[in-house]
């Protein structure tokens, strides 16, 4: 353990020097010689229309109102629809892979996000908060967020993705533990807008989408979209752990299929917005997870998620503004797991049905106004979980194992104040109290000092506390003789300190450096109770992590855009002194979009590098280097766009760490794959 700590010291030393270098290179001296010469005078030559089209970065999810990225009390990344198109991203997981410090683990069923060195195998993304237009997407049974093909919104309907690092429980409560991801959906600006897209790719995958938007002269706007996708997946997947004659020599055949259907609709009428969403995905499990029979294509999961959400904003007079929301959500999970209860000579295959149903409704209200130097906001959230049910039984012969039905209520109040002490100095304060039926109350603060030493430089000092409430699965799942419930679980807590420096060099280049440190206490971990030998979830572990992220981003008028980042991080379990599993020490992420052939084609090239990650078995998956390339036509024909993508360009053989439920310590990932996509957009202006 001692040597381990010593090695961390050395590594961070290197990292500190790098941070220093970046800060130095961001100095005005470097800026003057560093090219990309900013020309404010040239801006003066632009027409009003051109000025009105220039973008400045803003974010909603960091404070629950729209503000400039540089004034938000967090380190933020934004991915736009344009980047999604030019990089051929097919899922939210694919988008997040490109974001500074984020990485994704795929177990051939679900995609798990890793952020700031934390990606616990099997945690179902319950430590990040996922929002669609501010609507919470984490379900009420596992607290999980669906990010791969299981994410219920078609990725083509995403206008932008806001990635807000660090804890935000002071604003959102549970799940806003390590990061918040807010998806802004597309708006239809034109009077009539219709789009059809079809794509085909490797593994006989096909996808189709039709979207229609209409804006009436009285201001009523309507948008509707339907999508369907199907893929056979890899025809044969080899897993050496199952390489024996009894299990088809380790080859899982036709056990990787993936299908989804997605619906989205929105009506806007003045200050009223009604949105609805539904997605269902069915995925075959080729890994024989949870000790199921290998190479039986019946083992699969189905996720269904949908909501209806009504938002209403109005001006209350005297400068007060109201933002309110009411919603109803449903979540369903159906798992079929095939077990062999017989012997090797006389197999007896049984389908185990594992499923969960979650229904909940909620209401949110927030009032805000500016008073002098203060921007004040007060809000309350209420969530009524009318159903948080878990079931498990064997189908034939019928053997029930679990029938657990729960309800619960969560209410919360919060306040925030953004104080402009001086034009260059802002203070951001937030405090939220959440109340749960199970463990009672928890109060979480956030404090941000945002200082602009110069016009183009922002320094943020941030401190935040967060919690993750124990989910229904951890509290109540039990199976006699194997696991038991623990209704007295307490929330996990996180304390994070961050320093963020952002600097614009002219209009074209942005530099950012972040240093963070966090401590997670009472981490919920499954362990064996020595008294009865049963598995149970307890608040046991303490985890600490720290790291440094450096990023440079440039945008040039011809359409050339590039971003490169480096992350060094270190996370460890304080009890054992061991580095966390599935936590890369170093990440390098790069992407560039450039016009080619007289602007007729745009190329989007990206790569992610992850250093080696420790597995649960104590081994290491080697470093990962995955480049992806997409070519998109522009001006092909009016409204028509063709794109072609190659993922894992070098056909690099790599693996992600497996979870407790896998016999595989490492799960091999996709080799090179292809996709072509054709989109036709019809527009009729006002």
């Amino acid at each position: 353990m001692r040597t381990c700590i010593r090695r961390r010291c050395v590594r961070l030393g290197t990292v500190s020097r790098l941070a220093l270098l970046l800060a130095l290179s961001a100095s005005p001296l470097a800026a003057q010689t560093g090219g990309g010469a900013p020309q404010p005078a040239a801006l003066g030559e632009l027409s009003l229309e051109e000025l009105a089209s220039l973008k400045i970065d803003s974010v909603y999810g960091a404070s629950r109102y729209t503000q400039k990225v540089t004034q938000a009390p967090s380190s933020i990344s934004i991915v736009t629809a344009d980047e999604i198109r030019k990089h051929g991203y097919t899922s939210l997981a694919g988008i997040l892979r490109s974001v500074r410090g984020f990485y994704v683990t795929y177990d051939r069923n679900y995609s798990f996000i890793g952020v700031r060195g934390f990606s616990r195998p099997g945690d179902y993304n319950s430590r990040i908060l996922l929002l669609i237009d501010g609507h919470r997407m984490n379900d009420n049974v596992f607290g999980g967020a669906l990010l791969g093909t299981e994410f219920p919104l078609d990725i083509d309907l995403v206008e932008r993705v806001e990635i807000i690092r660090g804890p935000s429980s002071s604003l959102y409560g549970t799940s806003a533990f390590l990061a918040v991801i807010n998806i802004i959906t597309r708006k239809a600006d034109d009077a009539v807008w219709a789009e059809a897209a079809g794509s085909a790719g490797s593994f006989d995958s096909k996808k189709g989408r039709v979207t229609y938007g209409h804006r009436l002269p009285n201001g009523v706007g309507v948008l509707g979209s339907v999508s369907a996708y199907g893929s056979d997946g890899e025809r044969a997947l080899y897993f050496k752990e199952f390489d024996s004659p009894a299990t088809n020599h380790g080859v899982a055949e036709r056990a990787d299929s993936d299908e989804f259907r997605k619906l989205f609709g929105r009506i806007t009428w003045g200050r009223l917005t009604v949105q609805g969403l539904y997605g269902s995905r069915e995925k075959a499990i080729p890994t024989a997870s949870f000790g199921t029979v290998f190479n039986d294509p019946r083992s699969r999961t189905i996720e269904k998620q949908g909501f209806l959400d009504v938002q209403y904003d109005r001006n209350l007079g005297a400068g007060w503004e109201l933002a309110s929301r009411a919603y109803y959500d449903r979540y369903g999970y159906d798992g079929d797991y095939v077990y062999d209860l017989g012997t090797e000579e006389a197999p007896q295959l049984v389908v185990n049905k594992d499923f969960a149903r979650g229904n909940w409704w909620g209401a949110e209200a927030k009032v805000s106004r500016k008073i002098g130097r203060h921007r004040l906001g007060f809000g309350s959230d209420l969530r009524d979980n009318v159903r948080q049910d878990q079931f498990n039984y064997d189908e034939e012969p019928f053997v029930p194992y679990l029938d657990d039905r729960r309800t619960s209520t969560i209410w919360a109040v919060y306040a925030q104040d953004e104080i402009t002490i001086h034009p260059k100095l802002m203070l951001n304060l937030g405090l939220r109290h959440d109340h749960y039926d199970s463990f009672g109350g928890t109060t979480n603060p956030r404090l941000g000092v945002i200082y602009d030493p110069w016009q183009d430089t922002t320094l943020k000092l941030l401190y935040g506390e967060a919690f993750r409430a124990p989910n229904a699965y951890e509290l109540f799942w039990s199976q006699s003789g194997v696991t038991k419930s623990n209704p007295s679980l307490q929330p996990e807590t996180n304390e994070t300190t961050e320093v963020v420096i952002e600097r614009y060099v002219g209009r074209r280049v942005r530099l950012a450096a972040t240093a963070f440190h966090y401590t997670i206490n009472d981490l919920i971990t499954q362990e064996t109770d020595p008294a009865d030998g049963l598995l149970v979830y307890n608040n046991v572990d303490q985890v600490k992590a720290r790291g440094v992220e450096l990023e440079a981003e440039g945008r040039w008028p011809a359409g050339l855009q590039t971003r490169i980042s480096y992350t060094a991080q270190d996370s460890w379990n304080e009890q054992t002194g061991l580095a966390l599993t599935n936590s890369p020490g170093h990440l390098v992420q790069f992407n560039v979009q450039t016009p080619l052939l007289h602007d007729r084609v745009v190329a989007g090239l990206e790569f992610q590098y992850l250093s080696r990650r420790r597995t649960i078995g104590g081994a290491f998956v080697p470093g990962v280097f995955v480049p992806n390339l997409t070519l998109v036509t522009q001006k092909l024909r009016r409204g028509l766009e063709l794109s072609a993508s190659v993922y894992n360009l070098g056909d690099h053989v790599y693996a992600d760490p497996g979870s407790e439920e896998h016999r595989q310590d490492m799960i091999q990932q996709q080799g090179r794959s292809f996709r072509v996509k054709l989109t036709y957009t019809f527009r009729r202006a006002k």
Binding site: L20, P40, L43, I56, W454, T497, G506, R507, V548
Partner: protein
């Protein structure tokens, strides 16, 4: 927190802070900043102000002489840095140069043609419109709904872009003729 962890964090933060200190030492300060040392938002707003100077007509009595400058005043807090000077440098409107003045609230504000009030000082917008009432002064602000509270032009951020409202009633009271080019891009508001 165990001491080694704390020390490591301190090392990391110190490195970043030292970086900024070095940065501070090498920076010539806001008064003598290198070209472009302004945030993109205020570079855009400065360019808008130049366009307003070109496309708005002041009554003849607003100027002492034919080639007297158009004066742009920033009242109270100044978020522009050098963006105004850099944008207006060498620019003339009908042979008038554009001058920039930074003003305290206690100073005489009536000699400016354009007065800019930042978000920070938006609470005093009502006071300002009283002080320049009836005079040919274009009041530009960036507060929420300021165009309904006395400003003639109000910047707002919409869809990540800088847009603006024009209160045509306020423009008329100030005897300013606003070009149709401005009105085409602006959102038009009226007195309540």
């Amino acid at each position: 927190m165990t001491p080694p962890t704390g020390r490591r964090l301190v090392t990391a933060i110190a490195a970043v802070l030292i970086g900024t200190r070095v940065l501070a030492a090498s920076s010539p300060g806001p008064e003598r900043q290198a070209p472009g040392q302004a945030s993109p938002e205020y570079m855009i707003k400065a360019a808008y102000l130049l366009n307003f100077a070109r496309l708005i007509e002041w009554p003849p009595q607003a100027f002492a002489a034919a080639e007297a400058p158009i004066t742009v005043g920033v009242v109270g807090a100044d978020p522009f840095g050098q963006a105004l000077e850099l944008t207006f440098q060498g620019k003339t409107v009908n042979r008038r140069p554009i001058a920039v003045q930074r003003l305290q609230w206690s100073q005489d504000l009536r000699r400016c043609h354009i007065l800019f009030v930042s978000q920070t000082d938006s609470g005093r917008l009502g006071e300002l419109s009283n002080r320049v009432a009836g005079l040919p002064v274009l009041v530009v602000s960036e507060a929420t709904q300021a165009a309904a509270r006395g400003a003639t032009i109000n910047f707002r951020i919409e869809d990540d872009r800088v847009r603006f409202d024009v209160n045509v009633d306020a423009a008329k009271r100030a005897q300013l003729t606003v070009s149709s080019q401005i009105l085409r891009v602006a959102t038009i508001v009226r007195d309540r």
